[in-house]
C-alpha cells in the first residue's frame, strides 16, 4: 500500500520531496480528474497542512505574499488592493464554489494548463514564485516558471511555497476577462488580464497585459505595453495594433479554431483596456 503523508512542517515536507516518487497533492481539483476511472496506488504528499503555504500577507516592502495553498475562495474573500480585481475575477471563474473552496493558486500554477485562469492575472501583477527544496529556496518570475503546456521549471524535489506580488504592480487597477463556450463551469477559449498604473491626470505610466489559452503558456504583450506608456488612459484601446498580438500561437482544438482565438484575443484586450480606462 502506497504512502500518504500530510506533514505540518515545511522541512518535513521538503525532506520527503528529496526522495523520488512522491506526488504532491493540494486541493486535488486537477489531480483527481486526471485520474479518471482509476486512482493509482501512488505515494501522496498532501501539502494542505503546511502553514507556510497558507495566508495572504502584506510584506514590509509593500508587496503581497500569497501562500501557494491559498484557495480561490480565500482570494475572493480577502481584502486586496484594486490591482488584484482581475485576480479576484479570475478566482470567481475557476470552476464552481466547491472547486474554489479546495482548488489552490499553487495547484493552478504547477498544473500549468494553457487555460489556467490564475496565470494571466498573476502575470499582469508581475508575480514571482518562491520554490523551496531541502537545499534552499529560489525565486523566479512567473513567466519563467511556466514553460509550456503542463511544463514548469519546478524540479522534482521542489515545492511551490508562495507567490509574491511586488509593490509597484499593486499601485494599479486590474481587470480579467474570460471567454468560454458557455457562461459557467467552462474551460477558457481565451482570457485576458491587465493592470494599468497612471498619474493623477490619467497618463499611463505602466501597463501589464497578459493573454492566456492562446499559446502553450500565457504570455505578456510587451509591444502593446510599450505603446501604452505615456498615453492618456482614455486612448488606451486605440493603441492596440494587430502586430501587438503576433507573439500569440493559438491552436485549433475542440473549443475553438486558431483564427477565432486570435480574433477573440484582440476583442478581449480592447475590452480590457476600455474597462481599465473607465476604472477609477
Amino acid at each position: 500500500m502506497a504512502a500518504y503523508l500530510r506533514p505540518k512542517r515545511l522541512e518535513d515536507a521538503l525532506a520527503t520531496m528529496a526522495e523520488p516518487g512522491w506526488v504532491v497533492l493540494a486541493g486535488g481539483t486537477d489531480h483527481f480528474p486526471a485520474r479518471v476511472t482509476h486512482t493509482p496506488d501512488e505515494a501522496i504528499l498532501d501539502v494542505t497542512a503546511l502553514s507556510e503555504l497558507k495566508g495572504i500577507d502584506r510584506m514590509a516592502d509593500g508587496g503581497l505574499r500569497l501562500g501557494a495553498g491559498v484557495t480561490w475562495t480565500e482570494v475572493i474573500e480577502a481584502a486586496l488592493p484594486p490591482a488584484c480585481d482581475g485576480l479576484k475575477a479570475a478566482a470567481r471563474e475557476v470552476g464552481g464554489v466547491q472547486i474554489q473552496n479546495r482548488g489552490t493558486i499553487g495547484g493552478n500554477l504547477c498544473n500549468a494548463s494553457p487555460a489556467a485562469d490564475g496565470v494571466p492575472p498573476l502575470l499582469s501583477l508581475d508575480a514571482e514564485v518562491e520554490l523551496a527544496s531541502a537545499s534552499g529556496t529560489r525565486r523566479l518570475p512567473l513567466g519563467r516558471f511556466i514553460l509550456g503546456n503542463r511544463h514548469t521549471a519546478r524540479r522534482s524535489n521542489e515545492l511551490l511555497v508562495a507567490v509574491h506580488l511586488p509593490a509597484p504592480a499593486l499601485e494599479a487597477t486590474g481587470r480579467f476577462l474570460k471567454l468560454g463556450a458557455r457562461r459557467y463551469l467552462v474551460i477558457s477559449i481565451v482570457m485576458v488580464a491587465g493592470t494599468l498604473s497612471r498619474t493623477a491626470d490619467g497618463t499611463i505610466v505602466a501597463a501589464r497585459l497578459a493573454v492566456g489559452a492562446c499559446s502553450a503558456a500565457a504570455v505578456r504583450l510587451p509591444a502593446l505595453e510599450a505603446a501604452l506608456i505615456g498615453r492618456p488612459v482614455t486612448e488606451a484601446a486605440a493603441a492596440l495594433q494587430p502586430s501587438h498580438l503576433d507573439l500569440l500561437r493559438p491552436i485549433d482544438d475542440g473549443r475553438a479554431d486558431a483564427p477565432y482565438r486570435r480574433h477573440a484575443a484582440a476583442t478581449l484586450v480592447r475590452r480590457c483596456l476600455n474597462e481599465l480606462a473607465r476604472a477609477a
Binding site: V97, N101, R102
Partner: protein, 153 residues
C-alpha cells in the same frame, strides 16, 4: 491499511481504507451512506457534494484520508428524524427535482449557500449552483425552492 476517523452526520466513525480510497467511496461503500451520488468522473457534476467542516466540497475529488479528523455532513444528516430539513421540504414543495439524481448534491450546495449568503439574489443562486449539473429540471424549480428555503431556514 491506514485507519481514518471522522465525524459523519454527528457520529464518530472510523474505518480501514486503502490510501487511494476517495471520500465518496468511503461514504458509500464503507458507511453505506448511498445518498451521496457519483454522477461523473471529471469533478464537474456536483452529485457528490457534502459539507466538510461547514464548507461544501466534492467528495469525489478528495481522499477519505484527507477528511481525517473533520466533521462531514451528508444528505442523510440533514433531516431531523422524520422531519425534512427546510431545504429538503422546499425542494419537495417546489418540485425542485425530477429523477432526483442530482438532488443530494444540489441540496447540500444550496444549504451551504443559504448559510453563507442568506440574502442571495436569483442571479447569485444560479451562479452558486454552477458546480451542480441537473439534466432534468432546467433549474427553475431548484432556484424557486432555494428562494423559498431562504425564508424558512
Amino acid at each position: 491499511m491506514p485507519t481514518v476517523s471522522m465525524t459523519v452526520n454527528g457520529k464518530q466513525v472510523s474505518g480501514e481504507v486503502e490510501g487511494r480510497t476517495l471520500l465518496v467511496e468511503f461514504l458509500r461503500e464503507n458507511l453505506r451512506l448511498t445518498g451521496t451520488h457519483v454522477g461523473c468522473d471529471t469533478s464537474q457534476c456536483g452529485a457528490c457534494v457534502v459539507h466538510i467542516d461547514g464548507n461544501s466540497a466534492k467528495s469525489c475529488s478528495m481522499l477519505a484520508i484527507q477528511a481525517n479528523g473533520t466533521k462531514v455532513t451528508t444528505i442523510e444528516g440533514l433531516a431531523n428524524g422524520d422531519e425534512l430539513h427546510p431545504m429538503q421540504a422546499a425542494f419537495k414543495e417546489h418540485h425542485g427535482l425530477q429523477c432526483g439524481f442530482c438532488t443530494p448534491g444540489m441540496v447540500m450546495s444550496a444549504v451551504d449557500l443559504v448559510k453563507k449568503k442568506p440574502k442571495a439574489s436569483e442571479h447569485e443562486i444560479r451562479e452558486w449552483l454552477e458546480g451542480n449539473i441537473c439534466r432534468c429540471t432546467g433549474y427553475h424549480n431548484i432556484v424557486k425552492a432555494i428562494q423559498h428555503a431562504q425564508q424558512t431556514m
